[in-house]
């Protein structure tokens, strides 16, 4: 179907997208962080670890965004080769 379509052929597939699994899965694994020690600035681990996961989410999403930007935004050369290897 895709071959007969007019207009530019595009896809948002990229191996970088797999990185987004991290911030989706890690915050749900409660057994990893449901504890008191080590504390940070008086915060039990349970609380500061979940604040830290916010940074994990921001980091992963930003990286995937930068690596999968489209050509008109001056795409990085290495992300181009990365998507080729996947196809």
């Amino acid at each position: 179907m895709a071959d007969t379509e007019p207009g530019p052929r595009r896809s948002d597939r990229s191996p970088w997208n797999w990185l987004l699994i991290l911030p989706v899965v890690v915050p749900l694994l409660t057994f990893l962080f449901n504890r008191d020690k080590p504390r940070l600035g008086g915060f039990p681990f349970f609380y500061w670890a979940q604040f830290a996961f916010i940074l994990l989410g921001v980091g992963c999403t930003t990286l995937v965004y930068l690596m999968t930007r489209r050509p008109q935004d001056t795409i990085a050369r290495d992300s181009g080769t990365a998507s080729e290897t996947e196809d």
Partner: protein, 541 residues
């Protein structure tokens, strides 16, 4: 009313009036040639850049109710209430991957609502109607709850009676009618700025006054040790850990199925704006986590909730009371204004989203098939008024607890549109009949489980929470699970089985009028003119 409350009230009223003025002036902001279409009134011209979208979507998702209810939950139950943080971490990568396709396909086809998309994708007006009704039903109590947020601040200032809420909502209704989505977009700047200032001051100033974070967590721990309830505490236990993770994931999936979130996303001008925002919006999650901890601060400060109209302590008043307890009165006024305005932004967007669903998927679909864009805009404006009047009446005439119960049901209910909307963005495998069967089964399972959940805190026998005890179906455990996730699982299984059966029986399926490339389209790409009805012509040319 003491002099202290007078200062608070004056500051609250002044900020409220300034913001209302902005709401009316917003009609002139980024003024279009013609305001008379849903694209302009209901989606702000689909033109918002990264900054406006960040404030708008942030102001939309983190509501006044969140600001009072999440700390109230932490105040009452401890760690279990902190699920709001993982919930708002998990949601953004999901949007980054899935909902962005809805932006593209809507850009090409001019969709305004998620039900518009379902109509075109699965060729079923019945399925679209189910999605639209689900959206409206889930959104209405959410709007009503924004009033609960305002009411909590008014109660803390000693204001009795319902007239201030009625006035506030009348003003809100008037400027939303006039300015459409531009009003909440502009007000969101003020709302978010106020919230950030208040919370940053709160998290440095209050722990300093109360004796440090260790002391705050210590007094919370001491409080929960004394209570007999098995599910509270400053940490999770093995009975509620699974529920915590399921609730976080289920709420995240539900969040971006809500029509008002879709409205915020569709109003942005291109895909990169959305992607950048998915990286930047977690800044609000940080804020939300800090707000949640206000619940522990309230415990440490010895706050006792105000007794509500129903004679029971109203946990939603603890944050306003905490502010009143620790801040000088002028700053308390600012903090209350932040919460109050925090209610206006989402209430406006939600009423616009519900109105658009009514207009596009009920009015234009079933009542006036040839409605012009101008007529659609007029109908939507009037529908937004009706929706707000309904919300005010719900709060005035019913027990607020009823709205809270309905909102809880809303999250479970909206999840049942996930197979049609979210999975529909990824695959066209499902049969329209399978999706309808799944929706019916998921909805029935969800409501049945919610009905079976009692609330020991207020003595209600039904609809007492979203944590379903597995012992209710005879499993020998104290573990609880999130109703929404189970109902969604039922929905998916039925949808898959019914799809296989219908395909094997070669039952007629709807026609998909979208094309694969539509899901990757971006700003500047050609559009199919005017909705789904002309799509066939568009393909022919």
């Amino acid at each position: 009313m003491s002099g202290r409350h007078t200062t608070e009230l004056v500051i609250f009223a002044v900020i409220f009036v300034i913001v209302s003025g902005m709401g009316f002036l917003a009609a002139r902001w980024r003024r279009p040639d013609n305001m008379k279409s849903l694209d302009e009134w209901g989606l702000g011209g689909r033109s918002f850049g990264s900054w406006v979208t960040w404030f708008l979507v942030g102001g939309d998702l983190y509501t006044a109710y969140t600001f009072v209810a999440v700390p109230a939950l932490v105040f009452g139950a401890g760690a279990a209430g902190f699920y709001a943080v993982p919930y708002t971490i998990v949601v953004y990568p999901l949007v980054f991957l899935v909902l962005i396709r809805l932006w593209s396909v809507s850009h090409v086809h001019g969709f305004v609502t998620p039900a518009d998309f379902v109509r075109a994708r699965f060729g079923s007006s019945t399925l679209a109607l189910l999605v639209a009704i689900t959206g409206i039903v889930a959104t209405m109590p959410y709007i009503a709850l924004q009033l609960v947020g305002i009411q909590a601040t008014l109660e803390a200032m000693g204001v009795k009676g319902h007239w201030p809420i009625v006035i506030a909502f009348a003003i809100l209704a008037a400027y939303t009618y006039q300015s459409g989505l531009r009003a909440p977009a502009l007000i969101a700047f003020v709302k978010d700025a106020l919230i950030y200032v208040v919370i940053l001051v709160a998290i440095f100033y209050i722990p300093h006054k109360l004796g440090g974070w260790s002391h705050i967590f210590g007094s919370a721990h001491a409080k929960f040790e004394k209570t007999p309830a098995p599910t509270d505490g400053t940490f999770l236990n093995h009975n509620n850990q699974l529920n915590y993770a399921m609730l976080a994931l289920g709420s995240a999936l539900a969040l971006f199925l809500y029509p008002h979130s879709v409205t915020g996303v569709l109003a942005s001008k291109n895909r990169n704006v959305i992607k950048r925002n998915m990286a930047a919006l977690p800044a609000y999650s940080f804020l939300l986590g800090l707000i949640a901890l206000l619940g522990f601060m309230a415990i440490s400060a010895g706050i006792k909730p105000v007794t509500g109209a129903n004679g029971k302590p109203d946990g939603n008043t603890i944050v306003p009371l905490l502010f009143d307890h620790v801040f000088p009165s002028w700053f308390t006024g600012v903090a209350y204004a932040a919460i109050g305005i925090g209610a206006l932004v989402p209430a406006a967007i939600m009423s616009i989203a519900a109105a658009n669903l009514f207009t596009r998927n009920i009015y234009t679909e079933y009542i006036r098939k040839d409605a012009s864009p101008a007529e659609e805009a007029t109908v939507s404006k009037l529908a937004s008024l009706v929706v707000k009047i309904g919300a005010v009446l719900a709060i005035l005439l019913l027990d607020p607890q009823f709205s809270i119960d309905l909102q809880l049901i809303g999250g479970v209910v909206i999840l049942q549109t996930l197979p049609s909307v979210a999975l529909g963005l990824i695959t066209r495998w499902f049969h329209r009949g399978g999706l309808i069967a799944g929706w019916v089964a998921g909805m029935a399972a969800g409501i049945w489980m919610l009905y079976r959940i009692p609330n020991p805190a207020n003595g209600h026998k039904h609809f007492g929470g979203s944590a379903y005890a597995l012992s209710d179906i005879g499993i020998d455990t104290k573990m609880t699970v999130y109703v929404g996730a189970i109902a969604l699982a039922v929905n998916l299984v039925v949808a898959v089985v019914a799809t296989i059966v219908l395909k094997a029986a070669k039952t007629a399926d709807g026609v998909d009028v979208t094309r694969t490339s539509d899901y990757y389209a971006d700003e500047g790409d050609p559009k199919v003119v005017r909705g789904t009805r002309e799509v066939e012509e568009g393909l022919a040319t």
